[in-house]
């Protein structure tokens, strides 16, 4: 049994890998993300950055040079180093918020689809509520009330972005639970949690995975939006905070392109990377979308 299982799994993985390496979107996305992940992990070690260390009047808004690879900001801080630390924070916020969102979305989706009836109605109305509520005002209010620490921002983004995942997972659960092997599991006396954890979850997981990657892109954009609007964590210089300070100090009109261009491009690239990867996974894992 287990050997057949293993063969099946290996076969599946192989098919996945073939699909992956032949998909240009997937490889582009992966290259971008690997690049930024490495930068985020190693960068701050090689080029440590202390946001509490400021330059002098002479080092304010210096254009890129050999001392400052990407110039300095309006308080004389090195933008290149800031960018590397920012990568760490932006990615961390994106991934942690997504984990929260994925956990909520998956469990609510599976429970809703599996139990049906009243539980389904209640959970789906809650989901609808989160789907239709204007996202930005809600998050602005939450952050304004709860304060702007990075952990609160992660929590707020996680708690407000799971509804889409829940919907997708629910519909997949509805189809999975009608399959004979679920009935078989029930017949041999498996309880609800076993069925959900061991039989339904593995079958909806590919979908969750693809969805998660897309949610990460949204979470990073969300963090950038909040920070740009001045609600970010001032002690952690994310890319959004850099853009915020650049905007506030009038970098655009004074021509200090090196202040706002690098963080802006980084956000675009990382979000693009996640989006490419997300769509590609969706295409590879979802048989209906697979190109023949």
């Amino acid at each position: 049994m287990s050997s057949i299982d293993g063969v099946m799994r290996r076969k599946k993985l192989k098919r996945f890998w073939n699909g992956f390496k032949n998909n240009r979107m997937a490889t582009t996305g992966a290259v971008i993300l690997v690049f930024f992940s490495v930068a985020a992990v190693i960068g701050p070690v090689l080029f440590p950055y202390n946001p509490m260390e400021f330059g002098t009047v002479e080092t304010i808004l210096q254009p890129p040079s050999t001392t400052y690879y990407l110039g300095t900001d309006n308080l004389g801080r090195d933008i290149f180093r800031n960018l590397l630390s920012g990568a760490r924070i932006s990615l961390m916020v994106g991934i942690l918020a997504t984990l929260i969102s994925m956990f909520l979305g998956t469990s609510i989706g599976i429970m809703s689809g599996y139990f049906g009836k009243t539980i389904d109605s209640v959970l789906m109305r809650v989901t609808d509520f989160f789907l239709v509520i204007p996202w930005l005002p809600l998050v602005l209010v939450l952050v304004a009330i709860l304060g702007s620490s990075v952990w609160i921002i992660i929590l707020v983004i996680g708690l407000t972005s799971w509804a889409g995942t829940a919907r997708v997972v629910r519909s997949q659960t509805l189809s999975v639970k009608e399959r004979p092997f679920i009935e078989r599991a029930r017949a041999i006396g498996a309880d609800h949690s076993t069925i959900m954890m061991h039989h339904i979850l593995p079958n909806v997981f590919p979908l969750v995975f693809a969805n998660t990657i897309l949610v990460t892109a949204v979470a990073i954009i969300s963090e950038t939006t909040l920070s740009f609007l001045g609600l970010g964590d001032p002690t952690r210089p994310s890319w959004g905070m850099m853009l915020h300070y650049a905007f506030q100090s009038g970098a655009a009109s004074s021509g200090a392109y090196w202040f706002f261009l690098p963080p802006g491009l980084c956000v675009v690239l990382v979000v693009l990377g996640f989006t490419f990867l997300g769509y590609a996974f969706d295409e590879i894992l979802n048989p209906k979308l697979r190109r023949r």
Binding site: F54, S148, G230, L231, P234, Q248, G250, S253
Partner: protein, 577 residues
């Protein structure tokens, strides 16, 4: 049902089209409109609720006070044309003008003055109640005479900027509504009539024909709110607005390079401070270590104010010391032995002498009971300069072994925290008057829960505060005000970081006659309404800017037309089916 919906939909569209075109045409007579870009809008149109500088500015245009300040900051007649003081200095008699009318046509009389002053004295509301301290009785023997009695001589009687409100309107408000009634359409006697306030957009005033000031050269005055100073600076350059206030220092040169724009860094009576929660009764939630003067002193020693000023504010402003800004007569400059200038070694020394050591080697000093010098600095998220100054300060105090954590909150959330006493410290600023009473009042015990933002209380200070108002001899009074500032400097409930400059720009090609008040001061926010009354349009220059007041105008008509066309074709299609 369906049919009804269609009909009403069309009706609404037609009606809105009519309204749009109506508002577009009534701007026809081409009035001389001055638009001033501002970054903060009025917090309330009620003088009992507003505490803001822009509120003060707007109220002195809509309302009048008994006396006012001229371009030399000297007291000149306002609603009172003449006044005299009794020999015992306890009774003031004001002769009022007899030809003044409220904007709604009701004649102004001494009853209005009596009503306003009594209301403020009884309720102690808003930023103006401080002007009236010491007044015991207000009499109105006839329609043009007001007699004000005080228990002790009142030194700042003629520095009274308190607006006189119409009794016939405010008497209809019940007393428990004074602190909530919005006064959404103010009626005054001032040179400008209120026309419209759109929160988040603009506030529009129009010149009053019926004012003792004489008709202003400005027909319409619009304060346009800008969320971003870059956009505001661009708007001045493009001529979309005629003046701008509070743009950021980096835009000063760009603006000043323009031949038709005069951009200035004006010295204003105001400061930016780091305010500590000094609440010291047993129920206090304030940080106990922040009540220790050596800790406050060490914080001040470790802050390099000049460097922050240079880096965050492009050098605009000057390093701060005591509560009353240096432009006035009453500023106290600490002696060399009192003065705390930036000196990290000294900061560390002060803390060491007071027994704060880093016992566990984490870089943060602890008190003898192990409590670390670890505080929360609250900053206003929408003020990028203050946020950056706060970050620099956090970096600087770390050198003395003090940890500042930073949180940024919304302006309103900070005010809530202050009223609840739930904060360690924060940064913001105050604007002061020529007379020191209002700014000194902020630190008195009676203001806790209203103007006080530090919960500071000191009996000696309170006594001196009441006393200084009664000293008619300026030099003698100054001694007392100096002593008060000395107490504050020693106990440091505030660390005055900077005396602010206000950056202002005006377009000289469209308006002429701008006067800086005082000489190094500003065109606006200078405690007078002089420029609003005296600038004149340059002859022959046509107002090029789109009408911010009429609003939607041409673009609105096009959009409205498109919507009507769209809905009409949609309905036609449906019918054909």
């Amino acid at each position: 049902m369906k049919r009804k919906w269609k009909v009403s939909m069309v009706m609404i569209l037609v009606l809105s089209m009519m309204m749009l075109s109506a508002s577009a045409t009534d701007a026809g007579a081409s009035p001389q409109t001055m638009r001033i870009g501002v970054t903060v809008e009025v917090d309330s149109l009620s003088p009992f609720i507003s505490y803001s500088q822009i509120g003060f500015e707007v109220f002195q245009l809509i309302y009048d006070s008994l006396v006012m300040l001229d371009e030399n900051l000297e007291t000149v007649p306002g609603l009172a044309r003449d006044w005299e003081i009794s020999d015992d200095e306890l009774e003031w008699t004001f002769q009022l003008r007899d030809d003044v009318q409220w904007h709604d046509g009701v004649p102004f009389t001494s009853a209005d003055v009596k009503f306003t002053y009594e209301l403020l004295l009884e309720n102690e509301l808003g930023m103006y109640s401080g002007y009236l301290g010491g007044i015991t009785e207000i009499l109105a023997p006839d329609a043009t005479t007001v007699v004000i009695r005080t228990e002790q001589p009142k030194a700042n009687m003629l520095m009274n900027a308190c607006p006189i409100l119409p009794a016939h309107i405010w008497s209809e408000v019940t007393p428990d509504e004074y602190d909530t009634w919005p006064n959404s359409s103010p009626v005054g006697t001032g040179p400008f009539k209120f026309q419209e306030f759109r929160p988040g957009e603009y506030l529009k005033l129009v010149a009053s024909d019926n004012t003792f000031h004489g008709r202003p050269g400005i027909d319409e005055l619009i304060f346009v709110l800008y969320a971003n100073t870059d956009t505001m600076a661009q708007s001045v350059v493009l001529g979309e607005i005629d003046a701008a206030t509070n743009f950021s220092p980096s835009q000063l040169d760009t603006l000043d390079n323009n031949a038709t724009i005069d951009a200035i860094a004006a010295v204003v009576m105001g400061f930016t401070q780091l305010s500590f929660n000094s609440w010291d009764d047993p129920s206090s939630t304030a940080h106990p270590l922040l009540q220790e003067f050596p800790v406050r002193h060490a914080i001040e020693y470790s802050i390099d104010k000049q460097r922050i000023l240079d880096m965050v504010y492009s050098g605009q402003g000057s390093v701060g010391t005591t509560l009353v800004p240096p432009e006035g007569f009453y500023h106290y400059e600490p002696s060399e032995s009192e003065l705390r200038v930036y000196d990290v070694l000294r900061a560390n020394q002060v803390l060491e002498e007071a027994g704060y050591m880093d016992l566990n080697g984490d870089g943060i000093r602890e008190a003898s009971d192990g409590t670390p010098l670890d505080f929360l600095l609250t900053l206003r998220a929408d003020n990028a300069d203050e946020v950056q100054a706060g970050q620099m300060i956090a970096g600087m105090v770390a050198e003395a072994g003090i940890k500042f954590n930073i949180e940024t909150v919304d302006d309103g959330a900070l005010i809530d925290k202050i009223y609840a006493g739930d904060f360690d410290m924060f940064i913001w600023g105050w604007g002061a008057d020529l007379d020191p009473t209002t700014i000194l009042n902020v630190m008195t015990t009676t203001q806790i829960g209203s103007m006080s933002d530090s919960n500071y209380s000191n009996k000696t200070y309170d006594r001196l505060f009441l006393e200084q108002q009664t000293i008619m001899d300026p030099d003698e009074r100054r001694e007392m005000v100096w002593e008060m500032q000395r107490i504050l400097y020693e106990e440091a409930p505030y660390i005055i970081l900077f005396y602010d400059n206000s950056l202002q720009a005006v377009n000289t090609s469209r308006w002429t006659g701008w006067t800086r008040i005082p000489e190094e001061g500003g065109y606006f926010f200078n405690l007078t309404n002089y420029n609003y009354l005296h600038v004149q349009p340059v002859a022959g220059v046509v107002d090029a800017a789109p009408d911010a007041g009429g609003g939607i105008g041409f673009a609105g008509m096009i959009i409205g037309g498109l919507i009507v066309a769209g809905v009409a074709s949609f309905l036609m299609f449906r019918r054909r089916k």
